[in-house]
Symmetry: C2
Subunit: 425 residues, 2 copies
């Protein structure tokens, strides 16, 4: 039975029932948070042994002779580059390992476009307009970086195969002010969609009007699988090279949700010319990143297989949470015609779309009853969802018990807001 098939009286009766359920839950004074993609404290315990992997008696000399306790080495130590390259599925010579935050690397990369330009192109601050393509719903922090630099952002609809490539190709090939596109190719934030091979090939084959157009390829969830039969995406660096576009992509990744958020290591992968350009800036910025933490990570994970094994431990914590949310959404909302949700096989988020465009009201109802969701609109540039439809659910931080309550309330809020919307039509 779809809500839209109900009569006004039926809807009113339903609303009364739903509101009484809501008030009961509200009286519990819940304080739950499904807002940010953070690992839970219990989950993070799986990484605590990392803290023992280096000590005062360790050999702190890198394979290539670099003293990890002293200044220098702007590329990151060779073994950390190998580890991150293997994890990202690309070659070591394409990778530089930096500090603790891939977001900071992306920010710096946008900042360099603005202040100096890429590979000899004019810096963006000299241009009248700079535009970025933003697949939506997407990651709020990406959009915040480009907004911070005054970049005009254009919404590109996401499909289950990735961004609408017809639209992307048209913008990129026709508009010289389009300088970039934000992408999360695997388990895209927040939908969990994985870009298809076809999408990736079309991205790699773009014929940009702007010489300094770049794909900002945030491979944040490259190994963040919940199940064994995980999707595999091709190496974007090689693919772009094959397609005659070696310089078109900057790839970013980190161990933030592998070792510790904020305590991990981050990397950028790109063509040799791009890396040379990046290092040409980096050498003014720092004498080197934290090589001790790089070495600590190598000692602990050893190699990409070590990371994969470790990720299974994380998955064991996260999988039941994703499944619980999906289970509740299905049992509570399926067939009502008031919303759709994604069912990701990895990553950190589930995306929900309100069929009746009442996301703000759902958010409000959740908040009033003590459940914090990611701000409405956060998944869109400028924080504005033109459809008022999308809500991002982050199931990882709460316990299963909390999640059960929070998702139950969420489903109830969806029903109430939808009925209210139908009654007000």
């Amino acid at each position: 039975m779809q809500f839209t098939d109900l009569s006004s009286d039926e809807l009113k009766e339903l609303l009364q029932k739903l509101e009484s359920q809501y008030n009961e839950i509200k009286a519990q004074n819940l304080q739950l948070n499904m807002a940010r993609g953070k690992p839970a404290p219990a989950q993070l315990k799986v990484s605590f042994p990392l803290l023992d992997s280096l000590g005062s008696s360790s050999n702190l000399i890198s394979e290539d002779g670099t003293d990890c306790t002293n200044y220098g080495n702007i590329d990151g130590i060779i073994e950390a580059r190998r580890l991150m390259a293997d994890m990202m599925g690309t070659d070591i010579e394409n990778v530089i390992v930096m500090g603790n935050s891939s977001l900071n690397i992306m920010f710096d990369q946008v900042s360099r476009g603005f202040t100096h330009g890429y590979l000899g192109c004019r810096p963006w601050h000299e241009l009248d307009k700079v535009r970025f393509l933003c697949p939506v719903p997407g990651y709020d922090r990406h959009f915040m970086v480009t907004e911070h630099f005054g970049v005009e952002m254009i919404n590109i609809p996401m499909t289950t195969d990735g961004p609408d490539m017809d639209m992307v190709e048209k913008y990129v090939s026709e508009d010289e002010s389009v300088k970039g596109i934000w992408c999360v190719p695997k388990y895209s934030n927040p939908t969990g969609y994985v870009y298809s091979d076809e999408t990736l090939r079309r991205l790699a084959s773009l014929k940009p009007k702007a010489k300094d157009f770049r794909i900002f390829y945030d491979n944040a969830y490259c190994v963040h699988d919940l199940y064994d039969d995980c999707p595999d995406i091709p190496d974007i660096i090689s693919l772009c090279k094959e397609c005659g576009n070696p310089d078109i992509v900057f790839e970013f990744s980190s161990t933030s949700k592998i070792s510790f958020p904020g305590g991990g290591i981050a990397a950028v992968a790109a063509s040799q010319d791009n890396l040379k350009d990046i290092k040409g800036h980096l050498k003014f910025q720092t004498i080197g990143h934290d090589k001790i933490n790089q070495l600590r990570h190598v000692q602990f994970f050893k190699n990409a297989d070590g990371i994969k094994e470790h990720m299974k431990k994380h998955a064991d914590h996260i999988r039941p949470k994703f499944e619980k949310v999906i289970e509740i959404l299905s049992s509570e909302l399926e067939g009502l015609g008031i919303g759709e949700w994604t069912d990701p096989k990895g990553g950190y988020f589930i995306s929900f779309n309100s069929a009746l465009h009442c996301a703000d009201r759902i958010y409000e109802l959740c908040k009033e009853a003590g459940v914090t969701l990611t701000n409405v609109g956060a998944t869109y540039p400028y924080g504005k969802d033109p459809e008022n439809a999308n809500l991002r659910i982050a199931p990882t931080f709460p316990t299963i018990e909390e999640l059960e309550k929070a998702t139950g309330l969420f489903a109830l809020a969806v029903k109430i807001a939808s009925v209210e919307t139908l009654l007000n039509k």
Copy 2:
């Protein structure tokens, strides 16, 4: 006997003798480096126990409840802020603790001036000209940052009390394009001079024409004393506030030469309004710095006294090296009228001035015989020493034995280059 008093024949005879000594040393194929201010491997061992200060069984929750293993906390954890504030001699509320590199904080701060401007002032990229005052000789990496952003740099002579304040006051009060001055107040790089209280008060009392003029106050060597009776400088943040200029200064420091270069923690201190401004940018840049490494440092050092005690261990390694260099320079060059050198009581450098303006030739002679010095001119903006006089000696990295050889060769090179210069006059 001064070299300038020698006759041409005496000079020629002397040169022959010196050259034969030089050739003997050259035949040894030395490979020594007095170029960069790096601690020696043996010295760094004093910090190795830091690596044991956190392990998998540690409590990784900050005093204020922040989970150091998870995202968040843009200010740095409270106990790290207290540690760095105490070390810098300022109040905790003035301090944010960030990542591993104070150079990176300075770079970002200059970058923000360029891209966004300070406290509502126009971003520098919109201005015709931006100028910085650069006390010389100074730190090459400071000058490289401002050069990278197209800033015009103006040489300001250093005195034993700090920069020539008459000149600084004139520029700052009259020229709106002057937006900053680079300062290393204690054990200035490379002279080792300590700014006098009078200089600091005059800096804090500047009446800038530009509202967004800032003192870039790199307190890199605040606790890097070689002797017990070390000079003490006042807290610049309080001083500027007292003088009615709360927002005029950004102070930077790090534990790079306290714990590990590249593996330490860095901090910025500034007024509340400046910190708010900084955080207003920082929140786009990162979700937080490495709080685990912050906690590791607090666990190890405990407090400012712990840092002071630790610095004595470093000093025990460095002091004999400084004394050895000074001893050789004195015994070899004193009274010859061909050069002057500083005798720092802390920091990482000794500054040498060639009286006959032949620094490039001294550098060359050293290089040919296998001793690397910091590039001639590096201590000046644009790498250009208009006097061709200054050379920076970094005594910390080589062993005492290496240093003895290298300094001996250096003194010989000074003599040869000076005689050559006199003969060519």
